[in-house]
Amino acid sequence: MKRSQNAILFFLFVTGVWELCARLGMWSPVLFPSPVEIGRYLIESVRDRTLIEASSVTLKRLLIGYAAGLVVGVPLGLLTARFKFVQDTFGTAALGLQTLPSVCWVPLSLIWFGQSEFAMIFVVIMGSVWSVSLATSAGVQSVPPIFVRAAQTMGSEGLHTWMRVILPASLPYIVTGMKQGWAFAWRSLMAAEIYVTVLTGFGLGHLLHYGRELQAMDAVVGIMLVIVVIGLLADKILFSPVERFLHRRWGTGED
């Protein structure tokens, strides 16, 4: 309670100082919009639905791409951990590609898939799949062998051992990898949307881009705020419940 109070007071203070600076006219309002102007823009663009539609276009790309990244990344990680050959080949490739900033996939994706919806989704997939795969593989390799032995003496073998023992045992690692994958995917999608216009859907990145074209600083800052809020909400909705479960079960973390 005390902590959220602190946060609220801090942000009220910052907004207050900001508004004050804007009112005093220390900088040109074109470069330094006041919080009130930004608020006005946000309300306006929610009312004419541009912001809502752009957000939903962006989130749809993000969720589809991220889901595909998980569907590919987790099994790839499991195979990497299980088979030395896959580890040496795909595992090495994953390690290399993870060091590649995911924004760098944007040009390739555009040349391959054109200015299409899938080009955007492909960037998201490439942003998330390597982190998820590497984390899954690391998770599997950290599973204490005694878990597997115990399961075997209870009659577990093969796929059952993988699904019911190794996978849940590496869950803390996998969730960490999923969070990192999410962060990379989110960043690369924004870059892709700012970089190029796709006519099938007008996302937050495009909105940001046109904000700059129109020199509409209130729009630029307003959309940046929306992007921050989406990031925070994703963390709260997607990952917090899972992390709370992990902390409770494994007895890690402070509560």
Partner: protein
């Protein structure tokens, strides 16, 4: 020393280990963990394997569990060769090896879910019965990290017993516990064993513990791992680890153990 069943019928032993050898390679050196070891265990017998570290007692347990293969020799459970791990021979470890992603009940249910011919309701009933047996029914929904060491081993015991294995293989299950908890568990395990009549193979380096629990104590000598001597323990049950009679038996075995250890110590001294 007769190890046949009292009935004298041509009944197969619960476990027959026939001249088993096993070696491991470690850093250019080959370690002979087991050298031509033979052992017969009657159905319902409680056998304790004792010996200094490196005598291969845990290796033998792993082979019986089906987690490792012998280089030579045969191992038969109920007359059938052991080819892999299976729920008829349940293993308990020094660390509880309970799964942290499941709660207490979930852990006990794990093995039961692998038993064919049980529906969900029946499985739950069986799991609850065994939790009751080890006195942890109120903790059915507790997380594993919330339990004490002794409680963890009790859950592990319930988990091992629930699928009704014919044999229980215990690898120093009480070694990491404090003395008081251990003494409680000596009582529990004897009671459960006499109720359920399981065949138990119990590895320990604690001679008193072996005498307290075993119908028979098998003493191993190390490098290479061999059976040195066997002791029938005919003390009445339930046994108290602090009793004088028990101490006398333990002293006899301890003396043999020291004879084994002495050449080892001399080797180190040189």
């Amino acid at each position: 020393m007769s190890l046949e069943t009292e009935s004298g019928m041509a009944e197969t032993s619960a476990l027959e280990v026939e001249s088993v050898s096993k070696s491991f390679r470690a850093r250019r050196k080959t370690m002979q963990a087991l050298d031509n070891v033979s052992l017969k265990v009657r159905r319902g017998e409680f056998v304790c394997l004792v010996g200094p570290s490196g005598c291969g007692k845990s290796t033998l347990l792993n082979i019986v569990a089906g987690l490792e293969r012998p280089d030579q020799g045969n191992v038969l459970a109920d007359g059938k060769p052991i080819t892999r791990a299976g729920a008829d021979r349940m293993m308990m470890f020094q660390e509880s090896a309970l799964f942290p992603w499941l709660d207490v009940l979930g852990n006990v249910m794990f093995g039961l879910r692998l038993c064919a011919g049980l529906n969900g309701k029946k499985r739950r009933e069986v799991a609850m019965d065994y939790l009751k047996l080890v006195g942890l029914e109120p903790f059915m929904h507790a997380n594993i990290h919330e339990l004490s060491g002794g409680m963890k081993q009790r859950v592990a015991l319930a988990r091992s017993l629930a699928p009704n294995p014919r044999m229980l293989l215990m690898d120093e299950p009480f070694a990491a516990l404090d003395a008081m908890t251990r003494e409680q568990l000596y009582g529990d395990i004897q009671e459960i064993w006499s109720q359920r009549k399981k065949t138990i193979l119990f590895v320990t380096h604690n001679v008193r513990e072996a005498v307290c629990l075993g119908d028979r104590v098998v003493l191993f000598s190390p490098h290479p791992g061999r059976i040195q001597e066997q002791f029938e323990i005919d003390l009445p049950r339930p046994r108290d680890i602090n009793s004088v009679d028990l101490a006398k038996h333990a002293t006899t075995i301890m003396r043999s153990l020291k004879r084994i250890l002495r050449p080892e110590l001399q080797e180190v001294a040189e």
